[in-house]
Symmetry: C2
Subunit: 444 residues, 2 copies
């Protein structure tokens, strides 16, 4: 809204110039610098804040960038940016652990608020950085680290501050959502869809971090930490990627009324106040076609929150890209700058010690696609294995494949342990040629 | 996130007890009182704030309520609640203009922050109340006034504080979305779907405020004010309801790849900084079936924001209901209480003078469904009328109805003025029996 040249309780202060130091000037960094230049006058009019990008640290000063900076702003010395007395707020957009961790910690120690988009850093060193920010009494804001332009972190930290969250399920990786959407909509196989994503710039030449779920797992750990106020490291997130999802799985899902999505899921499964037991995982899942997450296509992201009072909530938008992500950074930057002027901050506070429930103990419905020899008695043998492990079958379809047959099962709720034991025994049956597909059914 | 018993910069303050006065104890008020009781300990642990509901004003003290209050809390004297020195923050959930306006203005004048869910009040007297809040240096927060539990206002005011918003389109009335979903999914006509909505408690016995778009228009005015920082009164919002939408319109829309939704739309169409020209309107619209708003079913709400940097963003959730709405009120209450402890507030600031563009000047594609006599020359005559008004036809379908025929047109972009003039002249043609359907196509 139009604001009368004041920032909260600081009306009367005449100089609201805030020196901003930006670390990293890639896609997001250069979009941020341009956005601050474009929106500077409107920001000043609305908030009274004059955001002045005084230093931008880059790895190589000679690279061409789509950004115009005054002489002396660009530097290759990131530590000097953090230490520069003209820099009031530090924006960290380098990515990766080092030197980002040391730079962010250094800024906080000097009492400078930090805005970061670095999921890897927070997923691995979040707890110590949050504690450092609170100890220094300054903001550490990180909206851009999880879902680009989607205001998820603010919603969880502020709007839902008192909401007992039950579960958060997110499509938080645009690359894999694009690939799965392509497979679903054009019938492409995984490798063709990946090649499409690469040629469109949605996937890296080495796509491992995206397609094997590492990116989503880092985001899941941050989401779990914020939604449940508990420390969850990236390494304790169960993770499966999408490279094993086949066109057959997607076609079966479609016929059964589902869509296949790579989901990051964080839910409270037990525990006590101060020590919640959480299940945090990333894996491809079958989502009912009428679930709001099912209609999230292409490279879009969305996060679905189930709370006890608020009910179902979903936030949808661009999870990546220079300008959408820079927009989230800028929202945080205005907050941090305003808080600094007011001498206040949004504390993160002590994080509880989360107990992460092992995937083996989780219950779900399962989709299982297996190839068997097409001869009498096979189905009975297969069904017998399910029964011995207490895995109850909700539906079964059989499809001829020459002298083989494909069996597609949907189970009732069962534990991962029981299902994995079932699969292990099935694979040992002489008539079973393979179990190429296993997907968990979620979202009911 | 878990917070260490501090609220921003007030660590060291030992007493963070905040006296809360609640005006109104209907669905939302009683859900709020219960939520504060349930979540009080968690809120205290996370924020250090002890929310103490010291007074609850009701119209009749004798009515049964699903809420337990200590002796002396319930009162029928709302003004006394506002004036009570024990009351630090006022929550207004009475609804309607008076006495809500006087009570809210009185609280602000005394320097007490106000949280309100009153869309009618803000849509008609928002500008003066926002100015009063800023003059007093206290919060006036109203997340619950627009889309229940959906954190839209916070996203617009904070996350998108520097985002140049182009357009906001919302499904902000659950009753009409339920009715249109029923018509679309079961083929019911408007009256049967309305009766269903009434029997399920989604629609009032007198459904006018919902079905004729008054509720959505009030929300549209608040959305426009917040998204564009400009004063827009409910009365300047163009408004059409859904009572004229027929099963035939919905069936045609479906066949053409659209879904019919009642949309509240606010967009900037021109103007200068400080004096934006806005188009703000509520009407049923044909939305492409693959648009994220198309999959918002039942009584859910969703708001789709298009920004220059952030791209497309959608927030989805429960737009009404006691607990979802109370969850939004509680988020605001924690904010207002924390800000009061810190001696700060979130200013609204001077609102620009909006110029509201008349609907006649807006351009859109149109769906037009008309009944004509089935005889030679009619189509040529009809097409001639379109042509004379410069309305270009994108597609036409003809369908026999005995001795009559139905013509369904989709136009290219045309102004409302040209389309209305076309319809006026068409209605005068002897061969035209009626033009029962007109829908604007939006969302491309």
């Amino acid at each position: 809204m139009g604001r009368a040249g004041t920032v909260g309780a600081v009306s009367g202060t005449s100089d609201l110039r805030i020196g901003v130091g930006v670390l990293g000037c890639g896609n997001v960094g250069s979009a941020l610098v341009n956005l601050v230049a474009e929106q500077g006058p409107a920001i000043a009019e609305r908030t009274g804040l004059i955001l002045d990008v005084v230093k931008v640290a880059v790895r190589s000063a000679s690279r061409d960038r789509d950004v115009t900076l005054a002489d002396g702003v660009l530097t290759t010395d990131a530590a000097a940016v953090v230490n520069d007395p003209q820099v009031d707020v530090v924006v960290e957009l380098i990515g990766g652990i080092e030197p980002a961790r040391e730079l962010v910690a250094g800024a906080l120690k000097q009492g400078k608020p930090v805005v970061t988009g670095n999921k890897e850093l927070l997923a691995n060193y979040g707890a110590e950085l949050y504690a450092a920010a609170d100890a220094a009494g300054v903001d550490l804001l990180f909206e851009a680290a999880v879902a680009g332009g989607i205001p998820l972190i603010r919603a969880l930290r502020e709007s839902l501050a008192a909401e007992p969250v039950r579960r958060v399920m997110g499509i938080v990786n645009g690359t894999t959502n694009f690939i799965l959407s392509q497979m679903s909509e054009s019938g492409a196989d995984y490798h063709d869809a990946l090649a499409d994503a690469q040629s469109l710039g949605y996937a890296e030449r080495d796509p491992t971090a995206d397609v094997e779920g590492f990116d989503a797992a880092a985001k899941a750990s941050i989401i779990a930490t914020v939604a449940f106020g508990a420390r969850v490291l990236a390494g304790s997130v169960y993770r499966e990627g999408i490279s094993a999802v086949s066109p057959a799985d997607i076609a079966h899902a479609h016929r059964l009324g589902y869509v296949v999505k790579l989901l990051a899921i964080a839910e409270q499964v037990g525990g006590a106040p101060g020590k919640p037991e959480l299940a945090v995982r990333v894996h491809p899942a079958m989502v009912p076609a009428d679930h709001p997450l099912a209609s999230v296509r292409d490279s879009f992201n969305a996060v679905f929150v189930e709370g006890e009072a608020v009910g179902e909530l979903m936030l949808y938008g661009r999870g990546a890209g220079g300008r959408p992500t820079a927009s989230a950074v800028l929202g945080d930057l205005i907050d941090a700058a305003g808080n600094r002027c007011r001498g206040t901050w949004t504390p993160i506070g002590d994080l509880a010690e989360a107990v992460v429930c092992p995937i083996d103990d989780l219950e779900s419905e399962y989709y299982i696609n297996m190839e068997v020899l097409d001869r009498p008695g096979v189905l009975a043998a297969v069904a017998g294995v399910f029964g011995r492990h207490g895995v109850s079958i909700r539906s079964m379809e059989q499809e001829g494949l020459g002298d083989q047959a494909r069996l597609v099962f949907i189970t009732h709720e069962a534990t991962e342990r029981a299902v994995q034991a079932t699969l292990g025994e099935l694979r040992d049956l002489e008539a079973v040629r393979g179990v190429p597909g296993l997907l968990r059914v979620v979202g009911r």
